[in-house]
């Protein structure tokens, strides 16, 4: 999140005056459970990519590359739909020291 501005320095009425600003909105810090991905089990079926509601599955040329934790809210849909159980949901507290 960008540095927060005072009331004199923002557009009136809560209007957002530029397009595409949702891209800057970090939703990753809503996450309670973190999807952890095991490349060795993955068959690149792209089910997680199809189902992810936050476009947080990173793929290149239909090859699974990982999860974008800046946006991932930890809903667990990817882990639920994965036919190979290649994604495991782990408590964020397990990663507390990583930040």
């Amino acid at each position: 999140m960008a540095e927060q501005k005072g009331w004199k320095d923002i557009p009136i009425g809560g209007t957002i005056v530029e397009a595409g600003s949702a891209r800057e909105y970090k939703t990753g810090d809503w996450r309670v459970l973190r999807p952890v991905y095991d490349r060795s089990k993955c068959i690149d079926c792209m089910m997680c990519w199809f189902y992810c509601p936050d476009l947080a599955i990173i793929q290149e040329d239909a090859v699974m590359k990982g999860i974008d934790y800046y946006y991932c809210k930890g809903c667990g849909i990817c882990a639920s739909v994965c036919p190979k159980s290649a994604i495991e949901m782990k408590p964020e507290t397990d990663f507390a020291e990583e930040g």
């Binding site: 999140m1 927060q4 501005k5 005072g6 009331w7 923002i10 557009p11 009136i12 009425g13 809560g14 209007t15 957002i16 005056v17 530029e18 397009a19 600003s21």
Partner: protein
């Protein structure tokens, strides 16, 4: 329709506002009928049907939709208006707040009517008082002429770059809206020149510069946006006299936050909103013939509340009677509360008393007003005891 001179005609308050709207010629009017507002939109719809104005008229299915359509139109970059009364205003309530907080300069004539229940169609101020903290500027007018004038003036006030707030122009149901009075209409071209063109800020139709209206605004910025609204209301205090002066130049009629009537040597003063001010003026004249030093402070603008003017005109008086045409159940009546708190810092506070009157359209007579004045003069009234005029015990 290009008369060059002011025209004096006998019309109702509703017609006066419809003529103001005809001359403003907003891009969009979205409205739903409700007594006693209906004739405003009815007369205006005829102007649309006859091709007198090019306004896009949207007959919506409810007042909630009327205000929503107006919000959408103004966000798009259009000048848009609606009008309502009582339960219609209550149904709009959610969007009334959104219009103000989204900083959309809507002008809405409101014809005051008692809120249900029990259901009633006649005048009191309970409907607009329920919106007093909605972030709208509020005027209360004494007669049809003021309804016409302040509707036109409000377009400039609402759209001023340092204000950008919606305005309610409130006229008393039936008493003003359906009563026929002589009203002086300005020439069409004079009004058109006075209101000018709307200068939209962030119009949605400017597709070269896409913007988002009404996004989620949480604990990180909502507070800052409220502070902006507070500042815009403060700016009204500076901007309104400038626009009123310009309006005086085209009309010869002076508007301010308040109108003092025979106050120079008045020891006992009444404070009121709306059409009752006319009755008080008549009573003041009659009582002065008998040597009573009485006067009136009419409140034109209720939001933002003219605290400085209240202090200037009421400090040092012997007694002040505040008339309210609505009650605040379990608390002081709205105008009384505002006047009382404005006088907190006054060095010489008058004996202050509160009268509630006229609920549900109950008539207020000159005898009622004289009775309130005489009680106030005799010193028998107790501050903070709420009295009632015209109520059967």
């Amino acid at each position: 329709m290009m008369e060059k001179v002011a025209q004096m005609i006998a019309i109702t308050g509703a017609q006066a506002v419809a003529h103001a709207m005809r001359q403003i010629e907003p891009d969009v009017v979205a409205a739903y009928p409700i007594t006693p507002q209906t004739p405003i939109v009815e007369y205006f719809a005829k102007f649309v049907a006859d091709g007198v104005v090019r306004t896009e008229m949207i007959p919506v299915e409810s007042e909630h939709s009327a205000m929503s359509a107006v919000v959408g139109a103004v966000a798009a970059g259009a000048r848009a208006m609606t009008a309502t009364s009582a339960n219609g205003l209550a149904l709009m309530h959610e969007i009334v707040y959104i219009a103000a907080s989204t900083r959309l300069p809507v002008v809405m004539p409101v014809v005051n009517r008692a809120l249900s229940g029990p259901i009633n169609i006649h005048c009191d101020h309970s409907d607009t008082m329920a919106e007093r903290d909605s972030g709208w500027i509020q005027f209360y007018v004494e007669d049809a002429q003021e309804a016409y004038d302040l509707t036109i003036l409000s377009v400039r006030l609402a759209e001023h770059e340092h204000v950008r707030l919606p305005v309610m122009v409130n006229q008393d149901g039936f008493i003003i809206s359906h009563g026929v009075e002589p009203v002086s209409l300005l020439p069409d071209d004079v009004v058109k020149k006075f209101v000018g063109e709307l200068k939209p800020i962030y119009p949605l139709l400017d597709t070269e510069h896409p913007v988002t209206y009404g996004p989620l605004d949480l604990y990180d910025y909502y507070f800052e946006h409220k502070r902006q609204q507070i500042e815009a209301m403060k700016n009204v205090k500076k901007v309104f006299p400038e626009i009123a002066q310009e309006f005086f130049k085209i009309s010869g009629r002076k508007y301010s936050f308040v109108e003092p009537y025979k106050l120079d040597d008045a020891e006992h003063v009444m404070v009121a909103l709306g059409s009752t001010n006319g009755t008080v003026k008549y009573t003041v004249d009659k009582m002065r013939e008998k040597g009573r030093k009485v006067g009136l402070l009419k409140i034109w603008m209720f939001r933002p509340f003219p605290k400085d003017e209240i202090q200037r005109y009421l400090t040092g008086r012997k007694s002040v009677v505040v008339l309210d045409r609505s009650a605040s159940f379990g608390a002081e009546a709205p105008l009384y509360e505002a006047v009382k708190s404005s006088l907190y810092e006054s060095a010489s506070r008058p004996l202050l008393s509160s009268f509630v009157y006229g609920l549900g359209g109950r008539d207020i007579t000159t005898e009622n007003i004289e009775e309130a004045f005489e009680k106030s003069i005799s010193g028998e009234l107790v501050t903070d005891h709420e009295y009632y005029l015209g109520l059967r015990e």
